[in-house]
Amino acid sequence: MTWVRHHSLSLAFGVLLLGSLVGQAFTGQADFNGKAAASAMPTYSWWEYVTSSHFTVDVAENWQSEYLQFLLFILLTVWLIQVGSPESKKPEEAGRESDKDQKVGRYAVTDSPAWAHATGWRLSLFSHSLALTMATIFFGSWVAQLVAGRSAFNAERLMDLQRPLGWGDYLAGPDFWNRTFQNWQSEFLAVATMVVFSIYLRERGSPESKPVGEPHTSTGVEG
């Protein structure tokens, strides 16, 4: 039980993710089949639906925007500051910081990860491993959105007795970019409001908030 308690945050979000995906799968199938039946077109079984381009594009367009959000947040907070926000570093800490501050190379401590003790490409790779991983998943999800989005879009075009679009036409068309931008704007809104709201508002006990009594002017202080 200790292990579960020590990983309860990750486990909770894992359960929420799976629950939401299952919910999306069932409601998405019902929505798709309702429209298909109204047009006297074939319906999908649950398994057919979750392995279809229709479900894939709906999942991928949300995933890519989430990972883009975190990628940008991770990178921009290296240099950009919001005074008063617990999500920001203090103005004097902007930038990549010193090896001593980052505990790398000869400043690595006993428990530091092995590659923090290293030099050369291993230290460089590990120093950017979080952003690289986020970027890889972002681009992978975005490509998945493109591939599945074109397939789903072309299936609808065929249903409407229209010729399917090639890669260039789909990439230059509104469907791909509308799906992309409608997700990006909501992610950027969420980050911007989190950064600003946390200057003035508090949630007692949350590490995402400053301590309740911390002054609004305090920057980079988490509860």
Binding site: F13, P42, I137, R150, N154, A155, L158, D160
Partner: protein
């Protein structure tokens, strides 16, 4: 902002693999075979062609033209016998033949013709089809 980071590579791979599987070869072959059987039916046994019409298309034809077996060969559907190109996306297909273009959909009973006797009507508009659903 500290939030948990999950390992999603496996799920992502599945996602891309699924997305890439939109146009399978066997699906393409099956759609092509159904289209050719439809045109063969038009030439020799109208009832066979009627059996290959999608439910909505069959209903539309019979509501306006009477029983399918008596009316299908009176529609302006060119005789076609060779397939030039097939596009399959999900459960929808477009089959371009030597003399016609047909649209099909994959129902539980197999590929059925949703529209035939189709002529292109500009880039932005649907094909004009002699036989189609409502």
């Amino acid at each position: 902002m500290r939030r948990p980071r999950g390992i999603v590579s496996a799920a992502l791979f599945t996602l891309v693999a699924t997305a890439c599987s939109g146009a399978g070869t066997s699906e393409t072959d099956d759609a092509e075979e159904a289209a050719l059987a439809f045109y063969e039916g038009l030439r020799s046994r109208p009832a066979d062609a009627c059996a290959l019409l999608a439910p909505g298309t069959l209903q539309e034809l019979e509501s306006s033209e009477g029983p399918c077996a008596d009316s299908i060969d009176k529609q302006e559907i060119p005789d076609a016998s060779a397939v030039a190109h097939v596009d399959v996306y999900g459960k929808q297909a477009m089959v371009e033949l030597d003399e016609d273009v047909a649209f099909l959909a994959h129902f539980s009973a197999g590929w059925k013709v949703t529209a035939a006797g189709c002529v292109a009507n500009g880039e932005r508009h649907p094909y004009e089809c002699s036989v189609k659903g409502s």
